[in-house]
């Protein structure tokens, strides 16, 4: 936090700020001291905020034209695509926006994993982030059901049926979720309601996420604590604002390419067939961003254990700050962790790939090995690595990273004082 007292210049500003310190908040946000060595992996926080706002704004417009009824949903989506002015644009931005949102959030999460941003004192930021991620998955799944195509219907059937794995009350819960004895109109209307609600929950959590971030301040590629404000930091505005803006524009170019030139490539063709409870599609696959977890679910032969494995795969992330025992944050100074990090990235990509393939033969075997490795990484490799790994010497400040070349803290400090 920037701790200095802020006094508005104008008389009215002062009067207002004494009653509601919005100007103090604005001043805090512009002055917010940010490490000056943040690289472009750090721009995805801003990009994600943009994604959320885009989804909410386009979603509001879509909701004005969409009809949440089993007999009319598919037609109303086609009505949006054909007869609503620029409806096609709004819908394609919303549909591809979901994919872009997940692309950005995966980069954001893996940036955090690489630079150890989840470690003390940033555990709360991380855990709020995991909750946001869970809500994003829920919102994306619910949203995919709304067009009421074949994949919507059968995806909803498969996912809601997962709850039936819960012992004793499972079947009851599924009936309760459906609002009937199969996925039908009551399911669609409640999914629409929840799909409308969740983005605003996410918005609230994003505020908490940023608030929690502004207490300790940003982590940075070197991963050391820095004094704030100091010569290691720059004010958020204009330095970070313009850099985030630049990265956001590059991101928007990719986004625009999808929207305008291949708007349906990330979706499944079957979702342009209206939902039909009597015809099951040959392969029921979720959207690409859920595929790794789908692979984990299917790699376990038992239904209940599969659901448990899938949920644990996400929830285990919440325990990450305590599973990773290393005191060093950034992978830059952790030669072994760096390698395991890239293996994990490959592992998740492999899980995503086999998630899209039929669960049989070699694919199933690969999925099982990859699932086992995923848990091995978090439960065994990370804790052990923290104790065993010989880390590289870390610098004392980010402006003079060479200084810290000495593992001996005293020598390094001595050098620093000599430089002054």
């Amino acid at each position: 936090m920037s701790d200095h007292e802020y006094t508005p210049k104008s008389k009215f500003g002062k009067w207002f700020n004494d009653r509601l310190p919005l100007l103090t908040l604005a001043n805090h946000l512009t002055d917010y001291p940010t490490p000056k060595n943040l690289n472009y992996w750090w721009t995805f926080g801003g990009i994600l905020t943009f994604c959320l706002i885009t989804q909410i704004v386009t979603g509001l417009v879509l909701a004005m034209h969409y009809i949440a009824h089993a007999d009319m949903a598919f037609d109303s989506v086609e009505h949006i695509m054909r007869d609503v002015n620029y409806g096609w644009l709004i819908r394609y931005i919303h549909a591809n926006g979901a994919s872009m949102f997940f692309l950005a959030v995966y980069i954001h999460i893996f940036r955090s994993l690489f630079y150890g941003s989840y470690k003390a004192p940033r555990e709360i930021i991380w855990i709020i982030g995991i909750i946001i991620y869970l809500l994003m998955m829920a919102a994306a799944f619910l949203g995919y059901v709304l067009p009421w195509g074949q994949m919507s219907f059968w995806g909803a059937t498969v996912i809601t049926n997962l709850f039936s794995a819960i012992p004793l009350v499972g079947e009851g819960i599924v009936t309760w979720l459906w609002g009937g004895y199969s996925v039908d109109n009551p399911t669609l209307t409640r999914f629409f309601t929840l799909h409308y609600l969740i983005p605003f929950l996410i918005l609230g959590l994003v505020v908490l996420h940023i608030w929690a971030l502004h207490v300790p301040g940003n982590n940075n590629p070197v991963g050391i604590d820095i004094k704030k404000p100091s010569k290691d930091t720059v004010p958020f505005h204009p330095y970070i604002v313009i850099k985030d803006g630049f990265a956001l524009l590059m991101f928007m170019i990719v986004f625009a390419f999808f929207v305008f030139y291949t708007p349906n490539i990330l979706g499944h063709a079957d979702n342009y067939i209206e939902a039909n409870p009597l015809v099951t599609p040959a392969h029921i696959v979720p959207e690409w961003y859920l595929l790794p977890f789908y692979a984990i679910l299917r790699s376990v032969p038992d239904k209940l254990l599969g659901v448990v494995a899938m949920l644990s795969a996400i929830l285990i992330l919440a325990a990450l700050p305590w599973l990773d025992t290393s005191k060093i944050r950034s992978a830059v100074f952790r030669p072994l962790y760096r390698q395991f990090y890239w293996i994990l990235v490959a592992d998740v990509l492999i899980l995503g790939y086999v998630g899209a393939m039929p669960a049989e033969g070699l694919y199933l075997l690969v999925a099982r090995v990859a699932t086992a490795y995923y848990f091995l990484h978090f439960l065994v490799i990370l804790p052990v690595l923290g104790w065993k790994e010989k880390t590289l010497p870390i610098p004392l400040s980010i402006t003079e990273p060479i200084l810290g070349g000495s593992p001996n803290l005293a020598t390094a400090k001595n050098k620093e004082s000599l430089n002054k």
């Binding site: 000056k36 060595n37 690289n39 472009y40 992996w41 037609d75 086609e78 695509m81 054909r82 096609w88 644009l89 394609y92 692309l103 980069i107 720059v234 204009p238 330095y239 313009i242 850099k243 803006g245 630049f246 990265a247 524009l249 590059m250 991101f251 928007m252 170019i253 990719v254 625009a256 390419f257 999808f258 929207v259 305008f260 030139y261 291949t262 708007p263 349906n264 490539i265 990330l266 063709a269 079957d270 342009y272 067939i273 040959a282 690409w288 790939y353 899209a356």
Partner: protein, 259 residues
């Protein structure tokens, strides 16, 4: 900047991967040049008009197009029939309307605002008339099939005699591009089946291409404006990005750090 290039290439790679996984599932379809592909892709107006003719004279006896209205035929970016032509087309169909003030249903000639007339009253009637198979609505058909236009184009030309050992039930036909190779629609196209008013030879290949183009338009009626707007949007974004890049350089030069 180096780091930035890394991220950007990662995103491009991701996009490439997503495209290639889609491509991996494809069978080898027949290839043809589609005028609507690419950054500036537009529909071939004459092909759309011919395609509409094939649809009405051949497909429409079984396949509905419930999301299209006759007015669409005269709209920009479509077949672009003149308003008079579109009105005449609409008027050539009998549309059920009502109830009138006496409470009776009646038929009248179609208007521009009417939806395309459906060949069957309901799904059951369609199934009963087609040996239990429902001829799918064709409004969004090309988007509802994995191979898209190439698939439809190939399927129309993919009829052949079943290989030895494959026995077909009554009313089932062999098509090498159909999923499972068995299709309940008989081969519909034969050379010279329709007579094109613009003098184009109505070969099976030509008709397949025309009607598939028509189906692409019916599935994506705003494709042309999408491409045009997309090009403008991306050029705008690129210029803005360059400007912002130099502003960023300028701002960061105050503290002499590489961005």
């Amino acid at each position: 900047m180096k780091n930035f290039i890394k991220i950007f290439s990662f995103i491009i790679l991701f996009s490439g991967l997503s495209l290639s996984t889609q491509a991996a599932e494809k069978v080898e379809y027949l290839k043809t040049d589609w005028s609507f592909k690419g950054l500036f892709g537009k529909f071939d107006r004459a092909a759309l008009q011919r395609g509409y003719q094939v649809y009405t004279e051949v497909c429409s006896s079984c396949h509905s197009m419930k999301y299209l209205s006759y007015r669409n035929l005269a709209e920009k970016g479509g077949p672009e029939f003149s308003i008079e032509q579109a009105k005449a087309i609409a008027a050539s169909f009998e549309v059920k309307d009502g109830p009138n003030s006496d409470g009776d249903m009646f038929t009248r000639p179609g208007r521009l605002s009417d939806k395309f007339v459906m060949p069957y009253d309901n799904v059951q009637a369609a199934q009963a008339a087609n040996g239990g198979a429902y001829p799918p609505d064709m409004s969004v058909l090309v988007k509802a099939r994995g191979g898209g236009v190439d698939y439809i184009y190939s399927l129309l030309q993919g009829y052949e005699d079943p290989p030895a050992g494959v026995t077909l039930d009554d009313g089932v036909y062999y098509n090498k591009y159909m999923y499972g190779n068995k299709i309940k629609m008989a081969n519909q196209l034969s050379d010279g089946l329709v007579e094109y008013s613009d003098g184009t030879i109505a070969s099976v290949e030509q008709m397949s291409k025309d009607v598939t183009t028509f189906l692409m338009w019916s599935a994506e009626p705003h494709l042309e404006s999408r491409h045009q707007m997309g090009f403008k949007a991306i050029v705008y974004l690129i210029i803005l990005t360059i400007l912002v890049y130099f502003s960023m350089k300028r701002i960061w030069s105050r503290i002499e750090t590489e961005v």
